[in-house]
Amino acid sequence: MSEERLHVSEGTETMIDVDQVWFTYPDGHEVLKGLSCRIRRGEKVALIGPNGAGKSTFMSHLNGVLLPTSGRVLIDGMEVNKSNLTAIRRKVGIVFQDPDDQLFCPTVFDDVAFGPLNLGLPREEIEARVREALAVVGLEGFEQRSSFHLSFGERKRLALATVLSYRPDILVFDEPSTNMDPLNRRNLINWLKASDKTILLCTHDLDIALEVCDRCLLLVDGRIAADGPAREILYDRRLLEENQLELPLALMTHELLHGILHEQEMDEEHRQIIGRFLHAHRHAHGPDGHVHVHLHAHDHDHSHLHEEVDERHFHEFEPHDHGEGDHRHVGIPHSHVRRDGAGRDTGGGGESSPRRGSRVD
């Protein structure tokens, strides 16, 4: 593989390089329209976008289950094409939304061993990898069980183990947190945060995106409509709402309470309670991205709370914040975002592709 890397100058750093990818289904349905993005090794990126924007089609391009109609996808410097699918699929692991799609073997062991067995690894190696992958997701001792007798949360974790067992460098998750109970979801978030792999998270759960990812791609109508730090894109109410998304719940709660605090007549006791909550919340989603909720706001006075909650989250919600000098890379004109026919004929893709975020250039 080393010789294949040679002709990519910055190849050691860029893990996923999607370059002007267009994809049309045989029935004429055009899904990807000049999609471009780059993801570096070790980055954790959220891919968000409304239903039908092309997220699943895009994911299928990352391991060559679909090949672009035009444009190209490079994984760790290798162009995805028919001749190197084995190597590509070894590098890119996709965890599907419905674990039942991914668990098709009779036993847990067989499911986790499926990938390594297809790689033709020796028995000891396979057994070691299965043990390791099951340990990661906390399913040790489940080897001889049948996947269809596991709970949904267990199956979801098992689906991750079946991908981990062939040790991909890149992990792509399709809606990793749907239908998960809070504990499983929390464990998943912690695992994702601690992982050193390159991670692409395709999700409508913007809270998990906010907590795990340092960068966010907004996919709208087959193109990247915005690319930038997760904390900026996911805080941009206008951008999200224009694209049939809404603020992460964590921020919405915050905003709502903040509005109440400002506008409504209320007695001091309630004001104190809300103030404490906001303070705790601010800590929970603070700039370092770690969850440590401090409920010790009782020693702050009210005016102090106001200062604390104000400064960071809300100036971004003001309208007309998308000027040229803006660092948020919201590159496309608003006509693009509209779902009607008028927005689609903006043409050849080249000039309409979004500006690259500073992080990838």
Partner: protein, 266 residues
């Protein structure tokens, strides 16, 4: 709509017994021979012996009796008409008339023979597949030269049966919740048609996703397994015993046939 059915045939495969410990390849091959021998029996005493043998095997395997109720129930329901029709329709001279219908003992004998054989075979078949984990049974079949693609499809089908049974139950519950009551009428049949259609549409989307997931994990049309079967001397002994019993059953049956030809007994 459908009774509560237990799909996992191997829910008692973990029990400890000489039948469970038997190497699945040897077990399936031996019991297949035994079952074929029973299918060929033509005399009542031999069929009775076969039933005793089947009951002995079942007892040996520690499988609970209720494990078989569904399968045996099917045999009874299917064969009931045989008891009602065959004694009255057997060609040749009837023994006497019952309610104006000619009754032939030979017809009743035949119905009883079929009934005994069917019970014995179903019992042995449940013992064979109930005492082995399903995937191991299938792998054993593959080692016994059953085509790999068929074995693969059996495993996948079995696995997704659980998914669709759950889906079907949820859909049916929601139908009942909206006031659907099945009756003997065209409207019910039409709704069942749409019901099955909905299941099919969902499964069709799923086939695509399952295949993509398989491809993503390097599938190339083969299902590999690390399972290895290791036969021990006891497996050979059990197999030899089974084959001898099958031979003895057939011999007793042929002897019985000769006796019947000579004396008219049985």
């Amino acid at each position: 709509m459908s009774d509560a059915v237990a799909l996992d045939i191997d829910r008692y495969a973990h029990l400890e017994s000489p039948v469970q410990r038997w190497d699945p390849r040897f077990k399936i091959a031996t019991l297949a021979v035994l079952v074929l021998a029973i299918a060929l029996l033509q005399t009542l005493p031999a069929a009775g012996l076969a039933l005793v043998l089947a009951a002995f095997l079942l007892g040996l395997s520690n499988l609970p009796a209720r494990f078989l109720t569904h399968g045996l129930g099917f045999v009874v329901v299917f064969l009931l008409p045989f008891f009602l029709v065959m004694p009255f329709s057997y060609p040749g001279a009837p023994a006497f008339e019952l309610l104006g219908l000619p009754f032939a003992w030979e017809g009743l004998r035949l119905a009883l023979l079929i009934f005994l054989k069917a019970l014995a075979i179903v019992m042995i078949s449940f013992t064979a597949f109930g005492s082995t984990r399903f995937d191991l049974s299938m792998l054993a079949l593959q080692r016994l030269k059953c085509p790999s693609v068929v074995v693969q499809m059996l495993l996948f089908t079995y696995r997704y049966t659980f998914v669709f049974l759950g889906e079907m139950r949820r859909m049916y519950t929601s139908m009942r919740a909206r006031g659907f009551v099945p009756g003997t009428n065209l409207a019910t049949l039409r709704i069942y048609g749409h019901f099955v259609g909905t299941l099919l549409v969902r499964s069709f989307d799923r086939t695509d996703r399952v295949y993509k997931a398989m491809l993503s994990k390097g599938y190339r049309g083969e299902l590999h397994s690390l399972v290895t079967f290791q036969a021990v001397p006891a497996d050979y002994v059990k197999t030899a015993a089974g084959l001898v019993l099958a031979f003895l059953l057939l011999s007793a049956d042929r002897a019985g046939l000769w006796v019947r030809a000579e004396t008219g007994w049985f």
